[in-house]
Structures are given as structure tokens and as C-alpha cells.
């Protein structure tokens, strides 16, 4: 059932991108938000909310930008892979000390690191281009030199494919022993330790996975925008990711996508009809959703059917 919904969603996204070209970019950007929220929801599973995960999107996006500028002939796929690799490495190192913290401190320390990164990216003008950011020339795609239309459509296919694979992967992880142990950190960490698991190792692997997933979103976002700015790593961006993850619910991987769909829909309609008020409407939606569905859309869905 859930597979059917996912594939229908993916097909709809592709069809819309194929027949209505202007929707391609918003769909890709929306999907990158969903991917990032998917990464954040991995940590939500452990009851930990990170207000700094946008830094991993930022790290991979800047990696893409640096590489694309240093080696102009580099292929889009290589760039994405390199971006993700760097954010995985970064999270492996940062995770070593980060996963000792719980609750507010976990959130705050992530936030602090992302703020340091944000500040450095904005200030080290000669390396990072400061707040103007760095432009990325359109790279080749599988060796093909493409014009804007086909390039964006291929990127859409790639984004959707990556999103499906990541969702499947994260969902498998949730069902695995490690994933169950991660969820046990939320319910009772002491008992988990008594069962013989190392909460530290479980958290570290979860953190790595979540940063990997967020890394994909950063690489893709950099390629579709053709521009990276420090805003990518601002804490408000991380807040939006958490927002989407909560909106959708952390119970199932599909939550992040439902959340992103609603988030983007609210954002687009409110910026079209009430241009000065989109933040207000977004905040209002968040509050209403929390009061009506504290477990997110997934919580509501799973009451009605088996996910």
C-alpha cells in the first residue's frame, strides 16, 4: 500500500515536471526539503531534535560549489557523490562528541556548530564569496552537455529516484535492530544499555545516517539553484526541516514527504495570495497541526491503515 502511494506520488511529480516545465524547480526544491526532513526525522526517532542539521546540507552544497569551480568538467553525479561524502565524513567526526548529548543540549550544540559554520561562510569572503555565495555553472550530466530544460528534467528524475531510495533505506533502518534501538533511546535509554546495546554507538550510527540523508538534499539543492549561500546553513533553515518532520510525523519515512508537500503548498499559496504574511501562515499552520495531530500526519494515517 505504502509503496503504491510512493510510486504514484513519484509518477505525479515526474508527469507534472514533464508537461508543465515551470513546476520542475519547485518540485525539486520541495523534494530536497523532504529529504532533509527525512534526515532530521531519523534523530527525532531517538527523541532528539537538532536545530543545526542544515549545516550538513550546507557542507555538501559548498563542497559541490567548490569542486564545480575548481574542476569545471566534473559531472553532476560525481559532484553529488562528493558532496554527500564530505558531509558523511564531517558528521562522523562531529558525531563522536555530539552523540553524548541529549535533549536541549543536543539541539543547542548542533545549533552552535551550524552558527559557527554560517558565520565563517559569511565572513571569509575571499574563499566563500561571503553572503553573496558562490555560483555554480551547469555541469555535465552523465557526460552530456545539456540546455536548461532537459538538465532540470533529468535532475528531477534523479531527485525523485534518490528520494525513493533514501525513503526505502531509512524505513528499512527504522525496522532494523539498530533502528529499534535508536527508538528505544527515546523511551528508555537506561534499559537499552542494560540490554547490552551501546547507546553511544546506536546514536552515532543514527547521527551518521541522518547527516548522510541531509547531505543528499544539500547537493541536489546546490545543483538546482546553481548558487550556494550561507543561508543554507542558517538555523531557521534547520528549524524548517524540523517543522516539516514534525508536520509529517516521525513514525514512518513517508511522513517527511507528506510534511514537505503541505509545507511547500502552504508556502506557495500564502506567498502568492498574502505575500507579506507567509511566515505568519506557516507558524499558524504549525501550531494548528501540533494541537490537532501531535503525532503528525503519519500518526493519523497509521490509525486508519497499516503502514
Amino acid at each position: 500500500m505504502i509503496y503504491l502511494i510512493s510510486f504514484i506520488g513519484a509518477a505525479l511529480a515526474l508527469l507534472s515536471g514533464y508537461f508543465i516545465p515551470w513546476t520542475t524547480t519547485p518540485i525539486i526544491i520541495g523534494t530536497t526539503y523532504a529529504i532533509a526532513a527525512l534526515g532530521v526525522s531519523v534523530m527525532l526517532r531517538a527523541g532528539q531534535v537538532s536545530f543545526g542539521h542544515a549545516m550538513y546540507a550546507c557542507i555538501s552544497a559548498y563542497t559541490v560549489a567548490f569542486l564545480a569551480r575548481a574542476y569545471p568538467g566534473m559531472d553532476a553525479l560525481t559532484l553529488i557523490a562528493a558532496g554527500v561524502l564530505v558531509s558523511v565524513l564531517a558528521s562522523a567526526v562531529i558525531g563522536v562528541f555530539m552523540v553524548r548529548y541529549r535533549g536541549i543540549f543536543f539541539g543547542m550544540l548542533n545549533l552552535a556548530l551550524s552558527m559557527v559554520l554560517f558565520a565563517l561562510l559569511g565572513k571569509l569572503y575571499h574563499i566563500t564569496g561571503g553572503t553573496d555565495g558562490l555560483r555554480i555553472e551547469r555541469p555535465t550530466f552523465l557526460g552530456m552537455e545539456l540546455s536548461r530544460g532537459p538538465y532540470e528534467f533529468l535532475l528531477l528524475i534523479l531527485t525523485i529516484a534518490i528520494a525513493l531510495v533514501l525513503a526505502w533505506w531509512v524505513q528499512r533502518y527504522f525496522r532494523s535492530g539498530n533502528g529499534a534501538a535508536l527508538a528505544a533511546i527515546k523511551t528508555n535509554e537506561t534499559r537499552l544499555e542494560y540490554l547490552g546495546f551501546s547507546a553511544y554507538a546506536v546514536m552515532w550510527r543514527g547521527y551518521l545516517l541522518s547527516a548522510t540523508v541531509v547531505g543528499f538534499s544539500g547537493s541536489l539543492l546546490a545543483l538546482i539553484q546553481g548558487l550556494v549561500t550561507p543561508e543554507l546553513g542558517l538555523w531557521l533553515r534547520s528549524g524548517e526541516y524540523v517543522f516539516i518532520a514534525i508536520l509529517g510525523g516521525a513514525g514512518h519515512a513517508i511522513g517527511a514527504f507528506l510534511g514537505a508537500l503541505v509545507f511547500e503548498a502552504v508556502k506557495l499559496t500564502s506567498s502568492a495570495y498574502f505575500p507579506g504574511l507567509w511566515q505568519f501562515i506557516l507558524g499558524f499552520t504549525l501550531i494548528i497541526v501540533i494541537f490537532l495531530f501531535p503525532t503528525g500526519f503519519v500518526g493519523q494515517l497509521s490509525k486508519r491503515m497499516k503502514l
Partner: protein
């Protein structure tokens, strides 16, 4: 070089730290009593700044006195804080009592988003400032360097009075003791006859007034732009986390530390100014994972 800028950096840093402390004190008080990390506190700060600046721009031309603008800063803070804090507690916080801490935090994040747009609707995007207050209070010369009276005397004195006042209130008054009882154990306190709902409302209003006061006191020396509230809230998070959650004296020490080191960084290495508070916080949390001043807590299994 370093010795020359030190007194300047110190005064700057202390004045800045005092504002930071006022905001963080409100944040940590609300967290201690109600278990909510109030992200909307940044919006309180911004509202305070804007309200104070526009009120003073209205009042200042009508009078020559240097005291009326200063006093109106505090009046604005109390009025705005009571309205904002009271409304938010009644509409939002009260209903979220039994929720998961993450959801409570996100509720206040939603409120921050809403308040930021309301602020933009009322005051627009142009910068506001109430420098009139600083000009009228004049300068003080100390060791050959001229400081403004406002930064040297008014701001630190306010923070000190607020700190001593709050400590006295919590330790020696009936209402304050009830508040402390709730921070220790909400259920037991309720069963002993303390009206937790009423205390929650009062706490939230006091916390909001402190946040608004921080903004109001900042308005004469800084120019307010949209986004100022969001910047302030992450900074005061850093202070609160460095100090340890719910530690008022700790917040004072942490705010001074962060404020002074940051203002030294402004003179010595301006590129890193924004990053300094977070670096300090990261280093502190590496050594003391629950902040500088946290006392050991009983483990709940």
C-alpha cells in the same frame, strides 16, 4: 594595542552582556518553572525594541528632559511584556501542558514565525533606533576615554537591579517560593495547594517582561532590523546552555563571559565575532555536558 582597547572592549562587552543577561534570565526562568524553551522570546526582544524606539520617537520631541525617555523605556517594557506574555501563555502555553518538550518548543517556534510577520506589518522593514536617550544622558570621562552614561551606568545598573530583584523575589516572597516549589516538582507542589496555572501565567509574564526590557534597553544603542529577534534568541540560547538550564546566577556569569569575549573579538578579530559565543558554548559543553552551573539531578528510570 591590546591594553589600549581593553577598557573600551570591557565597557562595550559589559553593556552588551547585560542586555544578553536580561533576555537569557527571562528565558531560563520560563524554562525552569514551565519546562518550555521559549523560542518566541526573540520576538519579545524585537517587539520591545521596536515599541520602545517608536514610543521614544513620539515622546522625545515634546520634552527637553533626559529622564522621561529613559523612564518610558521601562514603562513600554512592562506594558508590552505583560500583553505579549499574558496573551501567549493564555492562548498557547497553557494548552500544551502535557505535551512532549519538543512539541512545546515547536509551538513557540510557530509563535516566533507569526510574531515576526506581525512585527514586520506594524513597523515595516526600515531600521529603528532611539539614540535620543543616549544623547540626552550625556557622557562620562574615565581615564581619558569618554563613555556614554547610558552604557556605563544605566544598562549595567538595570541588569543588576533586575538580577537582585528576581533573586529576592524567588527566595523571600511567598509567590517566588511557590515558583521555586514548582520548578522542583510540579505535581507535589500542586498537591500542596499551589495554583500552578496562576504561577505559570505570572512566570511567563515576568519572563516576557525581561525579554522585552532587553530589547527596549538595546533600542537606544543598536538599530533594529527584521531578524534581530531571531539573532538574539540563538545567542541567549547559547548563554542559557552554557550556564546550565534554569540557572539564573549561572546565566549572569555566562552572559558576562560571552559578552566580554565577544566584544574583545570585535576589536581583535572581527571576522569571528559572530562565531565566538558558539565557540565558547561548544567548549564549555565539551567539558561540562550540562552547562557550567548545573547541579546533579536524580536519574529517572
Amino acid at each position: 594595542m591590546f591594553l589600549n582597547i581593553l577598557p573600551l572592549a570591557l565597557v562595550d562587552g559589559i553593556a552588551y552582556a547585560c542586555l544578553l543577561f536580561l533576555v537569557s534570565m527571562g528565558l531560563t526562568l520560563i524554562f525552569g518553572v514551565m519546562g518550555i524553551l521559549n523560542v518566541a522570546h526573540g520576538a519579545f526582544y524585537a517587539f520591545g525594541g521596536y515599541a520602545a524606539a517608536s514610543f521614544i520617537m513620539m515622546v522625545a520631541p515634546a520634552t527637553e528632559s533626559s529622564w522621561i525617555p529613559l523612564v518610558s523605556l521601562f514603562l513600554v517594557a512592562i506594558v508590552v511584556g505583560t500583553i505579549l506574555g499574558g496573551l501567549m501563555e493564555i492562548i498557547l502555553i497553557r494548552r500544551a501542558q502535557g505535551y512532549d518538550p519538543i512539541l512545546k518548543l515547536l509551538l513557540t517556534f510557530g509563535a516566533l514565525l507569526m510574531l515576526e510577520d506581525i512585527q514586520r506589518m506594524i513597523w515595516g522593514a526600515q531600521p529603528y533606533s532611539a539614540s535620543e536617550v543616549v544623547n540626552r544622558l550625556g557622557n562620562i570621562e574615565l581615564g581619558g576615554i569618554t563613555y556614554t552614561t547610558y552604557q556605563l551606568v544605566v544598562v549595567p545598573l538595570t541588569a543588576l537591579v533586575a538580577y537582585i530583584g528576581l533573586e529576592y523575589f524567588l527566595r523571600h516572597t511567598n509567590l517566588g517560593k511557590q515558583m521555586v516549589a514548582i520548578t522542583h516538582h510540579r505535581e507535589v507542589a500542586t498537591s500542596l495547594g499551589i495554583n500552578a496555572g496562576k504561577i505559570g501565567l505570572i512566570t511567563f509574564i515576568i519572563g516576557a517582561i525581561l525579554g522585552v526590557l532587553g530589547g527596549a534597553l538595546a533600542s537606544p544603542t543598536t538599530s533594529l532590523v527584521p531578524g534581530a529577534g531571531a539573532d538574539m534568541i540563538v545567542l541567549s540560547f547559547a548563554v542559557v546552555a552554557t550556564a546550565g538550564l534554569g540557572q539564573i546566577t549561572g546565566a549572569l556569569v555566562a552572559a558576562l563571559m560571552i559578552g566580554i569575549i565577544r566584544s574583545i573579538a570585535v576589536y581583535m578579530a572581527p571576522e569571528f565575532e559572530v562565531a565566538v559565543p558558539y565557540i565558547i558554548m561548544g567548549l564549555v559543553l565539551l567539558v561540562r555536558p550540562h552547562g557550567l552551573f548545573t547541579v546533579a539531578q536524580a536519574r529517572t528510570i
